[in-house]
Amino acid sequence: MPPEPHTTEAASPDNARPDAVASSVASAPAASAPVSSASPAAPSAPVTAGAVTAGTVTAGTVTAGAAPSPPRMRLALDRGLARIFFGGDWVLKGDAPSPAAAVMDALKAGGASAIELVPEGLGRWDTSLLAAVMRLTAFARGKNIPCSADAFPPGFRRLLALALAVPPNEGARRSSGRAGFLESLGALVLAVPATCRSMLEFIGETAVGFARFFLGRSVCRRRDISLQFQECGAEALPIVSLISLLVGFILAFVGVVQLRMFGAQIYVSSLVAVGMTRIMGAIMTGIIMAGRTGASFAAVLGTMQVNEEIDALATQGLPPVEFLVLPRVIALSLMTPLLVLYADFMGIIGGFIVGVGMLGLDPAEYFTFTRMGFGLSNLWVGLAHGFVFGCVVAVTGCYQGLRCGRSAAAVGTATTAAVVFSIVGIVIATAILTFLFNIVGI
């Protein structure tokens, strides 16, 4: 093993050295020889000429004899020249606190015109030593004073050179502070016009896509459409069944409590029939679609955006809106009314189960009263709601997916936004539709 010329550990093996230096500097200022010999491999001899100690700071003077000795750092200020000695084991995963802070404070108070870094009984080291040295180097740079670390082993100096090789990209640095409440509120408000514009643009593109589709000139594939039909239609049946059956239960239970006061329990069947067909079936289905299908649209398209698949489509001359959005909007807007119909049916069955099985109503009577309450106009209103909800959910999900950023976190944001905006959209659409149907008088 060829011994490296700069391995100072070999030159100063004793642990008592730090104290020796400290005392020699403090007690015998005129004795220049011991100090210079005590600082191994220190090239600058003039330091010690007539050493008058301005101050000696010792940080972390724990002298544990155990294998991993804590990192030590000691500052000796001598007429402007600050010599900083490093000793002990500098291990990142060690428990001992870094002594760098205390030394830094002393150095700032001292007012040095040059800094020299000297290893002194240095044991194991890793990048925690490098961090301490870097901090001093940065300090020296800030003060525009020289800082040498020539006495360190070559491996360490290479690392230091590597860390200093590329100057910090100051232009790139940015404030990491969090925006205040007003600032983020302002940013949110300022973003509204742009968001509205891009949303409108997207809706416009989708409309143009539809026009091309009906003219038979769109690039959307029939196979994609049927796949979407299956995914957002047939595969949603179990969850739609469960939810609407339970909603039927709830409607019947809640209704009967009130109707019983008038002895009109039987009208619970009409209540369930009207409630489910006119609005509840559609709203429940819409919300299920928002959580189930809208979220999936946003996640799929968002991940495609992350993987640059959307860009790949565009470069192949396939407009993403036609190729990806059209099949989804078509499928969801057509399947949601069908699911609404199914949900109406299941809800009425739920009401029937509660009414006949638990409240003891006569099945034939229940059926008759259901038919009485059930109007075709109610059914059409429900289906119209379903169609609108399908469009809202599909467009929102696709829009959020397509404008997704390029990271995993962005996909999450897009999916969340898709569900939230879909549900908000459903409620707003319901309000508008209710208002319109009221005017028309249905």
Binding site: L92, K93, L122, T127, L130, P153, R158, S407, A409
Partner: protein, 292 residues
């Protein structure tokens, strides 16, 4: 033990080439390895009779090789031969179908999950595209392991993160998100994260993939420099010949057809003297009789 630099064997057991560059054998002074000790003569990793399988399909069988300390060990072979699968087994992501992987003297897969996690704390991995956590800034990416496994103060952690970024030439980019920087920078940031805990052993999955030749060469230089200065052992999965010859000191060649290793040793030696003509052809860029 007070002597800071323990001389370690720079010989390659099981490798035919002994005239390999001795530079990698000399330890960097002062940089004694991190906790866990550095028992002389015990190789960093020993793989014995390892079989990697997906279901009943064996990707690689009977892999036996040794990674010495401070080696740059190359895992090479054609596309789809199971290089990355081997890497995944060695870093604990997929269990092997048979055989052992030993870190030092400890059987990696034979121990508990806790032991594996403890071993992996001394192991870093640079993924092919960096695999930085996209919801965190670069500094946060590097800080996370430091927060979990060291007792450093938040200020010190920040300092460490900035230092690690400076080492890979990304000083000043602490508060950037991975999506805001280029692919090459992401790779270097990934290296900074792999270095976060000053690992003894560092794995690289295709370090030069997706980089231009100049950036790839610079990354190779950086890898070597860090390895020399910090005294790490490197295991590099790659099929980039420039990298293989520049940094590799020992290697294993996996074959897709026979599902096992067909050569091992210093890649430069293998290029000229490998018994298997396929290996010579691979390393000689197909110059000795190209197939396709």
């Amino acid at each position: 033990m007070d002597t800071p630099h323990t001389p370690l064997s720079g010989t390659y057991t099981g490798a035919p080439a002994t005239g390999a560059p001795g530079a990698t054998g000399t330890p960097a002074p002062g940089s004694a390895p991190a906790p866990g000790g550095d028992p002389d003569g015990v190789p960093a990793i020993t793989v014995q009779n390892l079989t990697i399988a997906y279901g009943s399909y064996a990707v690689q069988k009977n892999l036996t090789f040794t990674v010495n300390r401070r080696d740059v060990f190359i895992i090479m072979g054609g596309s789809g031969c199971g290089k990355s699968s081997l890497l995944r087994v060695m870093v604990g992501l997929t269990p092997p179908a048979a055989g052992t992987v030993c870190y030092g003297r400890e059987d990696f897969w034979g121990g508990t999950k806790k032991r594996r996690e403890a071993i992996l704390r001394n192991v870093g991995l640079l993924f092919q595209s960096g695999a930085l956590w996209s919801s965190m800034t670069l500094a946060e990416n590097i800080s996370l392991p430091l927060e979990l496994y060291t007792s450093l103060s938040p200020a010190d952690i920040r300092e460490q993160a900035m230092l690690k970024l400076a080492l890979v030439g990304l000083a000043g980019f602490e508060d950037y998100y991975p999506s805001e920087i280029s692919g090459g920078m992401r790779k270097r940031a990934g290296l900074a994260r792999a270095l976060a805990l000053d690992p003894n052993i560092l794995f690289f999955d295709e370090p030069s993939a997706g980089l231009d030749p100049l950036s790839a060469a610079l990354l190779d230089e950086l890898i070597l420099e860090l390895k020399e200065s910090l005294g790490m052992t490197l295991i590099v999965v790659t099929h980039d010949l420039d990298s293989i010859f520049t940094i590799g000191s020992n290697s294993v060649f996996l074959d897709a057809a026979t599902h096992t290793m067909i050569a091992g040793g210093d890649p430069r030696f293998l290029r000229d003297h490998a018994e298997n003509p396929d290996v010579r052809r691979f390393l000689g860029r197909g110059k000795t009789g190209r197939r396709a």
